[in-house]
Symmetry: C2
Subunit: 188 residues, 2 copies
DNA sequence: GTCTATATGCCGATAGAC
DNA sequence: GTCTATCGGCATATAGAC
């Protein structure tokens, strides 16, 4: 029983990919039209305005990432959780030319409506607090370094990861994510 | 003796400000035209193509930042150097709606020519190695925390600062930069 | 140097046939 | 649902007068 994706799903998936590549102002309904194989007017049928499309893209992307986080075994040591998270984060790079959708939209935020800002903020908060919990666990285990409150540390770690994918793409390298992870690890 | 800026300088300054707000694909010659008070064709006289304009904008921005770095007294303790750097970085936020030009262009990099990528890379490298030197000094003094090589630590710190201005703007707050700085500081 | 005028093309969006 | 056709607007860029 093959489950082929609907036109609507294809539009959303390609919109996410294109925005991770070029950002909100760097893709068009025409781009999507050519990728999906329908006319631009058909895209307007599913997503009346570009803002509607972006908002749904963020929501789908967030759901996928949240599902990825929940799939990480809660019984794991903190160090392995962080390693898994870093690896997942590195996968957003794709062929090396993409960054996190919400990191990209944070850069484009001044061109976007308030509804999108709130959705992107929610994504940031969810990741930051997930990382804060992992850091708190690691501090208790003595495996991760946490200076100050775990909440501050979680925000800093997430920022470092966002900045690192940006730099990884800029320099066509992959190694910068691991540098970040190592920084929060207790020296052997 | 007042030194009024030339049209060319005004164009470049407004281009930098606009890009720090909305990015490469989010501003136009028309925007500049209205801000400076000349027609778009006059802007093309100074900067034949938009890519020319962006490249010169990056170069001017880099020069300004480099001058800011050189103005930091080399005799200062590492902790104070880092504090000054963080404060300078926070000033890029402007009225709270701007991010670092080169962080923004790193997000837009897949829409830009190779010449701009190289200029943005040079900016990243200069900042990363400046921070690496400060961290090395701080490690010697016992005032800053450095795990692993100073080069890796410098890259991670710079990434964290880039990610933090992004988040600061997203959440309309200013406090995230100091969280980052505190993370590299040796606990009292 | 700055202007008017224009070229050419893409943009998001809508109306209405099928 | 998908199409054709089209709208009004804005994009970068250029030609040529002054």
């Amino acid at each position: 029983m093959e489950t082929k994706s609907t036109v609507r799903e294809q539009i959303l998936d390609h919109a996410i990919t294109l925005m991770m590549l070029r950002g909100y102002n760097g893709f068009s309904y025409r781009d999507l039209s050519e990728l999906v194989g329908v006319k631009t007017s058909s895209i307007h049928y599913y997503f009346p305005s570009k803002d509607d499309l972006v908002l749904e893209a963020v929501n789908q992307y967030s759901s996928e990432v949240m599902a990825g986080l929940q799939s990480i075994d809660a019984a794991l040591p903190a160090g392995e959780k962080l390693a898994t998270y870093t690896r997942l984060f590195g996968k957003t790079l794709g062929d090396g030319d993409q960054i996190c959708l919400c990191g990209m939209l944070a850069a484009d935020i001044e061109s976007l409506p308030e509804s999108v800002r709130e959705a992107v903020q929610a994504f940031f908060r969810a990741n930051e607090s997930w990382l804060a919990a992992v850091l708190a666990q690691g501090a208790k285990e003595g495996t991760l370094v946490v200076k100050g409150k775990p909440e501050s540390a979680g925000r800093t770690l997430f920022a470092a990861l966002q900045g690192s994918v940006l730099a990884s793409r800029l320099f066509h390298t992959k190694s910068r994510l691991e540098d970040v992870e190592a920084m929060w690890r207790v020296a052997h």
